[in-house]
């Protein structure tokens, strides 16, 4: 293939490289420019810290570009919601039509940049708390352009480090020596990040997450619960539930239905609360093993906090002595590591 390139294209590519320098990537095949790629940011002077959104623009040149429109793709939007993306996309379509016959890449960059400059605030929600960014919130933008409330990201990083330490301590000494050092990662894309946790954690919790309305079960939820309980009762009866029947593992603790009944009947609401508390603690410490044995039984995971069931609606109660297993009796299940 001969490398005769339209002069308009050569001029455009030269100009792009001269102006954008390292910020533009031109992919060539046999010296013919085929793909132009650049990350577009909002205009904030030179203040990179004030850029909260960005997007990658990819322009694939057709053989007879600019007499035909190039193929334009927007990739890796950061801090931009779907509505803004579709606005930008339709403006691009119009621009391509308007500019047929002349180089269009600069026009596209400008068009996108104008849109980003106008919406230079993260839209959408913090994926950690699932609440948006509102007045009074303190948030952070990672190097990979993902946004979190500083408070939320601090919690993630603290928990991540703690998990790393715990896992590390389970390894034999020689493996501990070889283990890669702890690396903070972005919750969304797992890219390495480096943040000062001590600074982040001084931020207040997200404004919207402070007041929690009490949780209550709807009629719909209750109906679903009854349906599920009925299904479970059926499966228990058929021996299809883990720990029931002869294929189950050796028992760790044996209890009988009458024990359950006693506990349930005696359980005042404060006892129920205690039960819930110890459950949460037991389950969060993975290695609690045998001590936590009472907290998860097939079909009856929290016997301590069950209220006495009405006689007609007790499908969750096992029909015969049940074997209780800890929720996660083994401290580690290392997979895919």
């Amino acid at each position: 293939m001969s490398a005769t390139v339209d002069e308009r294209v050569t001029d455009e590519v030269e100009a792009l490289e001269a102006i954008l320098m390292d910020d533009v990537v031109i992919k060539r095949v046999n010296d013919v420019p085929e793909i132009i790629e650049t990350v577009v940011h909002p205009s904030t002077g030179d203040d990179v810290d004030q850029q909260f959104v960005c997007i990658t623009l990819e322009v694939k040149l057709t053989p007879d570009y600019p007499d035909s429109s190039p193929e334009v793709n927007l990739r890796n939007p950061r801090g931009l919601d779907d509505q803004l993306l579709s606005t930008i996309n339709s403006q691009i379509k119009q621009k391509l039509l308007d500019c047929l016959g002349q180089p269009v890449v600069f026009e596209l960059i400008e068009l996108i940049r104008d849109n980003l400059t106008e919406s230079n605030l993260p839209s959408g929600q913090c994926v950690i708390c699932l609440y948006g960014f509102v007045d009074g919130d303190v948030f952070i933008k990672t190097q990979c352009y993902h946004h979190f409330h500083s408070h939320c990201l601090a919690n993630h990083l603290i928990a991540g480090k703690k998990y790393y330490q715990e896992e590390l301590e389970k390894l034999p000494n020689w493996q501990q020596m070889q283990a890669p050092p702890y690396q903070q990662t972005c919750p969304v894309c797992r890219c390495p990040v480096s943040c000062d946790v001590d600074v982040l954690k001084t931020a207040p919790p997200p404004v919207d997450s402070v007041t929690a309305p009490p949780f209550c079960l709807t009629a719909e939820l209750k109906a679903l619960q009854i349906k599920m309980a009925a299904l479970l009762a059926k499966q228990v009866a058929k021996g299809g539930v883990v720990g029931v029947g002869d294929t189950g593992p050796p028992p760790l603790t044996i209890t009988s239905p009458s024990d359950h009944d006693n506990e349930a009947t005696n359980g005042s609401s404060s006892v129920a609360q205690e039960g819930a508390k110890s459950d949460a603690i037991g389950a969060s410490t993975d290695g609690a093993s045998r001590d936590a044995a009472g907290e998860a039984a097939p079909g009856d995971p929290h016997p301590q906090q069950r209220r006495p069931p009405p006689p007609s609606a007790a499908p969750l109660a096992p029909a015969r002595p049940t074997t209780l297993y800890p929720f996660y009796p083994l401290p580690t299940l290392r997979c895919h590591s």
């Binding site: 994926v127 950690i128 699932l130 609440y131 939320c152 993630h156 603290i158 928990a159 998990y163 919750p187 969304v188 919207d208 997450s209 929690a212 309305p213 009490p214 949780f215 079960l217 709807t218 719909e220 939820l221 619960q225 599920m228 309980a229 299904l231 479970l232 059926k234 499966q235 058929k238 021996g239 299809g240 539930v241 883990v242 720990g243 294929t247 189950g248 593992p249 129920a272 609360q273 819930a276 459950d279 949460a280 603690i281 389950a283 969060s284 998860a296 097939p298 995971p301 929290h302 906090q305 209220r307 297993y325 929720f327 996660y328 083994l330 299940l333 290392r334 997979c335 895919h336 590591s337």
Partner: protein, 151 residues
């Protein structure tokens, strides 16, 4: 016990308002962190037609640590052991707070479609899955029919 974090309330509401096809998760009456879950066996898998019951518990520091999930219904699968425990990286070291109850359950459903005998939790099942896949799949279908069918 501290008040239920709003994230959990929000997730619960969304699970009801926009349910994931083939998955239902309902909080327990007595503990809003404990969910009764049913995952339907994916089409074109040996688990098709099965209704699998799971339990899911959101630990105190959720979403900073992963939910605890296990199968309650018996299932013949190389990555799920006899205790119903699941070998899935996102439940352990690949957990991220950007994941949610719904994404976890979707991943588990996907694991049913794509058993991975090279990374086994149930060794005997994985062994058979590698040596004689046909028989393993027959076993999985039989277990599904015997334990997980709603009839």
């Amino acid at each position: 016990m501290a008040a239920l974090p709003r994230r959990i309330i929000k997730e619960t509401q969304r699970l009801m308002q926009e349910p994931v096809p083939g998955i239902s998760a309902v909080p327990s009456e007595t503990n809003a962190r404990y969910f009764h879950v049913i995952v339907t066996g994916p089409e074109d898998s040996p688990f098709e037609g099965g209704l699998f019951k799971l339990e899911l518990f959101l630990p105190e520091d959720y979403p900073m640590s992963a939910p605890k999930v296990r199968f309650i219904t018996k299932i013949y699968h190389p990555n799920i052991d006899r205790l119903g425990r699941i070998c899935l990286d996102i439940l352990k070291d690949k957990w991220s707070p950007a994941l949610q109850i719904r994404t976890v359950l979707l991943s588990i459903q996907a694991l049913l479609s794509a058993p991975n005998p090279d990374d086994p939790l149930a060794n005997d099942v994985a062994e058979l899955w590698k040596v004689n896949e046909g028989e393993a799949i027959r076993n999985a279908k039989e277990w599904t029919r015997r334990y997980a069918m709603d009839n």
